[in-house]
């Protein structure tokens, strides 16, 4: 089966996609197959998320490799792909002396919608993003959150099959961020538009997406569903009345992986027999088990474990750390 044919079943597919700016490698021979679901692109600043999105939109020429979006070759048919996808850039990209309705309508026309339909769609979409009342105001007077909504509206005004959202919660306060994430959830779940969300905030991706791609310095670290990643290895949290260090040593002697985190003992779940071993160790030591519960691996755990495995973790904020 050829790469082009196999790419048809995927929303996005890349083969050895590589982008270098002189000695700096922005994307390092990426091989990706992304399903048609809400996908999170996760990575620290400079990990290559925005470069990947621009490459998939055909805005950047890759140094080598191929990419397909919605089954279409990006390099050969970038213009036709851009009729079917939307893009919300990270940076401030709005004209100031235009009303939201005029600008979003103009962007609809730029996607090929006839003037009348474009105006109608602009009004509908601005209503959907919560800017119904403000649509005839100049963008100059909008707050950061409202501008983000206008950017989102222009990205979906032509009813795309797929929308790329590059750091959509950037610069927003906690309430605005919460609203924006709810809106993105709605776009995906209610409006049926597939979303690729780029973020360096773990919480955003965890809340909106069901598939995650982790990048680190342009390299692919993880590409899997969040559910699978969480199931990968559940920890068991144990708290005891007694000497925790001895408890960990006894478990290790039973060939069970355990480590101490403060007063918490984290035991790697491999089978139900681990629970028996914990119980037996407590009985042997004559200590009481105060806590014994499964602890689901968070995206943060996955990120730290996977990225530290290839050269040290880069801290990512779980919550919005860049609140203005």
């Amino acid at each position: 089966m050829t790469a082009a044919t196999s790419s048809d079943q995927w929303m996005v597919s890349t083969r050895a996609l590589h982008k270098a700016y002189g000695p700096i490698i922005a994307l390092d021979t990426l091989d990706l197959n992304l399903p048609r679901s809400a996908v999170g692109l996760l990575g620290a600043n400079g990990a290559g998320k925005s470069t990947l999105i621009k490459g998939l939109l055909g805005l950047l020429r890759p140094t080598s490799g191929k990419a397909w979006v919605l089954g279409t070759d990006v390099q050969a048919n970038a213009v036709s792909i851009r009729e079917r996808v939307g893009y919300m850039p990270e940076s401030d990209t709005l004209p100031m002396d235009v009303t939201a309705a005029d600008f979003v309508g103009h962007m609809a026309e730029m996607s090929g919608l006839p003037a009348r339909g474009a105006r109608q769609r602009a009004n509908d979409v601005l209503y959907q993003v919560g800017l119904d009342e403000e649509r005839y105001r100049l963008i100059r007077g909008f707050s950061t959150g409202m501008k983000q909504r206008v950017k989102l509206a222009q990205a979906i005004v032509h009813d795309p099959e797929l929308v790329f959202l590059d750091e959509p919660t950037n610069g927003m306060d906690p309430q605005g961020r919460d609203d924006m994430l709810n809106l993105i959830n709605r776009i995906h779940n209610n409006l049926g538009i597939t979303v690729i969300l780029s973020s360096h905030i773990l919480g955003d991706v965890e809340r909106v997406c069901d598939y995650v791609v982790m990048l680190d310095s342009g390299r692919l670290v993880v590409s899997d569903s969040i559910e699978t990643l969480r199931q990968g290895s559940t920890d068991i949290l144990v708290r005891i009345d007694g000497n925790e260090t001895t408890f960990v040593e006894r478990l290790t002697a039973r060939q069970i992986k355990a480590e101490l985190s403060g007063h918490d003992i984290l035991v790697a779940y491999e089978s139900d027999e681990v629970y028996d071993a914990i119980r037996d160790t407590a009985v042997d030591m004559g200590v009481a088990l105060r806590t014994l519960k499964a602890r689901e691996r968070s995206l943060e755990d996955v990120y730290i474990q996977t990225v530290s495995g290839i050269g040290g973790p880069v801290p990512l904020p779980v919550e919005a750390a860049n609140v203005e």
Partner: protein
Amino acid sequence: MSSEQPVRTPQQPYGEVFDRGYQHYQGERLGRSYAIRALIIYSIKRGLGIKKKWTAKIIPFILYSIAYLPAIVITAIISFFPGETGLGYSSLYGFLDFVILIFAASVAPEMLCDDRRENVLPLYFSRPISRLDYLLSKISAMGILMATLVFGPALMLFAGRALTDDNPASWLVNNLDEVLRIAAYGVLLSAFYAAIGLTIATFTTRKGVASAIMIVGVIILSGFANGLYFAIDDPATNPVVFLSPFDVLDGARAWVFGTGLGGGSMAGDADLPGFSYGLVIAAIVGVAAAVMHRRYVSEE
């Protein structure tokens, strides 16, 4: 006045509830060519200050008024004094050249500066157009706006002369070549100032700066070239005339309309072949196209 009040029966609804839930777009999609057309129209409106605050409309309005007024006046003079008045297209363009310089200097930055200053380009380039499409749309919009000022007054004068003639039909047949001359010089004039204006606008995001550089630059360069030419006063330095934008246009105008140049001007004194001015304008347009291509199409 009737005192009857409309009576609402129980069957008539007091109001209606509209479902404004999201609906997918089912209408037609007109693709790339329509997007290009939309960008051209939008840019023309921006250039004329349409859908902008009223102050943005002042300069275009004044310039259009100034440009069309001489054509009306010359037509009126010709109709009152049907003999040879010495007034024609060359006289009209001699006046219009400066107005068109101001117009180009105010419109060209509108085409390019705002989109770069406000970082709107990523939104345009994520649409079904290429970078080249964007640039050509902006050039087209500029060209259309320039055409309204460059051709309009001259064609008005042409029509006025035809209508004031005793036999308009035969006058039209005998003077059709004038339309070609108007078209030829109009293209040269538009291309010359549009190329300079758009090129300057690719290097700055500030509209005022771009306008000022263009107007002041053209005036200073013309003055400098004149000073240099008459100071050296050597036939070997005649090509200095090509450094003066006003004299390049004077030379091109005399060449296209077949009129002479006054001996007092640098272009008249230099007595260079008429086509050389056309070549200089073509070269400037070529350099401008290469610069704009590099700034917009080649950059990633």
